[in-house]
Amino acid sequence: MAAVQTRSERLGNRLAIAAVVAATLIFLAPIYWITSTAFKPLVLATSVPPTIVFEPQITPFVKLFLKRAQLTEPVSQEVYDAAPWWEKLVLDGGERLSRDANGQVQSSPYPSRFLNSLIIAITSTILAVSMGTITAYGFSRFKVKGEADLLFFILSTRMLPPVVIAIPMYLMYRAVGLNDTHLGLILLYTAFNVSFAVWLMKGFIDEIPKEYEEAALVDGYTRMQAFFRIVLPEAATGIAATAVFCFITAWNEYAFALILTNRRAQTAPPFIPSQVGTGLQDWTVIAAGTVLFLLPVAIFTFLLRNHLLRGMSFGAIRK
């Protein structure tokens, strides 16, 4: 940048900064709204005018994990005093904990859905990235007949609208008993992500000089040893970035999960909206569930910031 700025340039820069600040505030406002709702007392969640400043509390998160029922009559003082702090928070809200026959506190469906999301996203990411990496290596280092067509085919499978694929998938899974199973969604997300992983990893592997492996081959490595000991370590950053992208895609996926699961293997995305419209709506609890669900993605976005461009353009644009 030029050391000397004219007055109009300085003014222009100030205006630009003001515009950026305004845009950032507008873009972050919805995220602030979700997050703040998760810490609000129930009455403030849907207050008019909307509440922006309030005393944050963790009651929504406590409620999120526990199965609750409406209190029909107030509890006695002794019971209230004997209750642990988290039960008091629920009782304060006019609800009681739901207990099973043995008097054990029951958990809400949320933790199991969250766990399903974790299992399915992590397993499918590992599978997709492993397959994607070796296939990308195959395409990058060897001549493959009809390479361009195959790569087009691989990418086009990712572009298909999910509902289009879901119709036959639903019927096939029903026939083989894979509906509402973890394995069913894992396989599907792997198929969905592997095409992406191939494209992204091919870009990363193309960047590793062939000379590294050739030198290793001269030194007596076999091709496989060269792949595992030279190429994989060199591609580690790329593998990590690809894995995060695959994880986020599987984590956020909604259409397949909605159609192919309903209870046992249901993930968080179809579960979270299904809470809306069932009787009394407690937006603070829904927001709490959402915030926990969005947290890993927000963290990954920051870790991944330098690779976002590449991932989002399927490896076409590098910086």
Partner: protein
């Protein structure tokens, strides 16, 4: 180095026994391609078959072959045509919005601004979030009686998501919020790749700001902008989650939601397979253009 040579002598059995390049290539490429065929091509062939029948997945009735009837019915159905034109309009509004907002933000961020990297990352957050959660929370923001949007803009009780004229735009605004950062990200890459000496030359020639923008910046960023636009067009055309979660207003029904309802609420498996095929062909056409273009930019 010596240790490598001693452990992996070229004459050792390990080296000679290693897989040949051909075996490795096949072992690395074929399983993935086969896997993708099983999970993508096979289901599509399966549903191609159903698209010529009156099959309903919810009943056990015998399946009858009906020829092209499903396709003819769909192409004659005014509701389908309405959802197609709604989708087209939605794609235009939302991609245009993403283009202007995203490119505008990129132009602003291309200046020397404090905390530029941090701000850029913050702005990228929306596109990484789960569309269904985004849709759910924008529903809360749009709420006519207690949503913060109407209050902040002083609009009274505008029925964003139930009004037949507004619902589609409300969904488009959410989509713009989510995906303008994507256009911004690609534009920033394009802008940073414009050689600085061109601007210096323009300054020496006393070229005006607008002239510099239209003659230097825009032509050089255009290829990458086009990538962003085609990609977003493709994705907007497929939009399901955000719109399905946010509104049930028939005037804002997109083609993917129509397909979902036809297949999984009315259980018209045969006709829905036919509709799926029509959508598929349209998507493949856009994909084809996209990938050709992507490869061209890649080769530069």
């Amino acid at each position: 180095m010596t240790s490598i040579v001693t452990t992996l002598d070229p004459q050792s059995r390990a080296a000679r026994r290693g897989w040949s390049d051909l075996t490795i290539r096949n072992a690395f490429v074929i399983p993935t391609v086969a896997f993708l065929i099983i999970f993508n091509i096979f289901p599509l062939l399966y549903s191609l078959g159903f698209s010529f029948t009156d099959f309903r997945a919810s009943t056990n009735k015998p399946i009858n072959f009906v020829g092209l009837k499903n396709y003819v019915d769909i192409l004659a159905d005014p509701v389908i045509w309405r959802t197609f034109s709604t989708t087209l309009w939605y794609v235009i509004v939302s991609v245009a919005g993403q283009f202007f907002v995203g490119f505008g933000l990129a132009l602003l961020l291309n200046r020397p601004i404090p905390f530029r990297g941090f701000v850029t990352t913050l702005l990228l957050l929306p596109m990484m979030l789960s569309p269904v959660v985004v849709g759910l929370f924008w529903k809360l923001i749009y709420d006519p009686s207690w949503g913060p949007l109407n209050y902040a803009l002083g609009l009274g009780t505008v029925q964003w998501l139930t009004d037949s004229h507004l619902a589609l735009y409300a969904v488009a605004i959410t989509d713009i919020w989510m995906w303008a950062p994507f256009v911004m990200l690609l534009s920033l890459a394009g802008l940073s790749a414009v050689p600085k000496h061109l601007y210096e030359a323009a300054a020496i020639d006393r070229a005006g700001k607008l002239y510099t923008f239209f003659r230097i910046t825009l032509p050089l960023v255009a290829p990458i902008l086009l990538i962003a636009v085609i990609f977003r067009t493709m994705e907007a055309f497929k939009t399901f989650d955000v719109a399905y979660i946010m509104t049930g207003q028939p005037a804002a029904e997109l083609i993917s939601s129509r397909l979902y309802k036809l297949a999984f609420q009315q259980w018209q498996t045969g006709p829905s397979s036919a509709l799926a095929y029509i959508i598929l062909i349209m998507v493949l056409c856009i994909t084809n253009i996209y990938i050709k273009y992507l490869n061209r930019v890649k080769e530069r």
